[in-house]
């Protein structure tokens, strides 16, 4: 798994490449938390275009970040998840808490509190 971080306004965009499972989700959690603090942002966008696999460990990691951000009024969303990851996020109910978007622009509008069109 490879990660890269960029900041736009009050949102950190985390580009994830590779597979998210129990093994890699621990690092993803740790790196996300430290980037969130270091960049002093409020919201998180996970860019999943290059995520080839995710199981329930990824759901757990995302719910964990949702809970952390909820307590301080931050928003979190996922962009460009593949078909199977979208399916997992939908039937687990996760997409109701963390909306899925096709484009970074829509995700950004959502996290920054403007109009949005979720998938």
């Amino acid at each position: 798994m490879e990660l890269s971080f960029s900041k736009k306004n009050k949102t950190v965009i985390i580009m994830v490449s590779g597979e998210i499972d129990h093994h890699t989700s621990k690092e993803l959690r740790w790196q996300t938390e430290s980037a969130y603090i270091d960049m002093s942002v409020k919201n998180i966008i996970f860019h999943f275009e290059n995520v080839t696999f995710m199981d329930s460990s990824g759901i757990g990691m995302l719910i964990g970040r949702y809970k952390q951000l909820q307590s301080i009024g931050g928003k979190i969303s996922v962009v460009s998840a593949n078909e199977k990851i979208t399916e997992i996020m939908q039937f687990s109910g996760l997409s109701k808490l963390i909306p899925l978007f096709d484009t970074i622009e829509d995700a950004f509008s959502y996290t920054e509190g403007r109009e949005h069109h979720a998938v």
Partner: protein, 142 residues
């Protein structure tokens, strides 16, 4: 039952082996020409069961996880077993969003994903002895 082809592997309950289990099953099933969706569903179900063995069966201590896979006609058969602590209440464990380890950010969706992605799942477990999960999936054959 006489399978057309079968394979069995035993590996240490280390989290880096979750990926190994997925690569192993994908490699074994390659001759079947499954759709990408079918292959991803099987890999995800295997990943869930192996993760359960590592986190819940052995509680991240060292042990062995067994993965058996086979196919016959248009059906895939998978078994994942550990000799760990066993599941205290299988009905509760299968409930969506139930987790015995919320502090570890577990979503409680492991069994729900296995049930959604596979046609059949059967769990055998005895406290202090271990857990064996049986799964079956019929695939589309041209």
């Amino acid at each position: 039952m006489q399978y057309e082809n079968e394979a069995r592997v035993l590996f240490t309950s280390k989290s880096e082996n979750e990926r190994f289990a997925r690569v192993f099953i994908a490699g074994f099933l390659t001759p079947l020409d499954l759709t990408i969706s079918e292959m991803t569903e099987i890999k995800t179900a295997v990943s869930e069961a192996v993760t359960n063995a590592i986190i819940h069966g052995y509680e991240e201590k060292r042990g062995n996880v067994e993965l058996f896979c086979a196919y016959r006609e248009n059906k895939v058969y998978i078994e994942i077993a550990d000799s760990g602590s066993g599941i205290e209440n299988i009905t509760l464990a299968r409930e969506p969003l139930y987790t015995s380890k919320p502090e570890m950010e577990r979503s409680g969706m492991g069994f729900t994903i296995m049930e959604t992605f596979m046609d059949q799942i059967h769990i055998q477990s005895e406290e202090g002895k271990g857990t064996r999960i049986f799964m079956e999936k019929t695939f589309t054959k041209e």
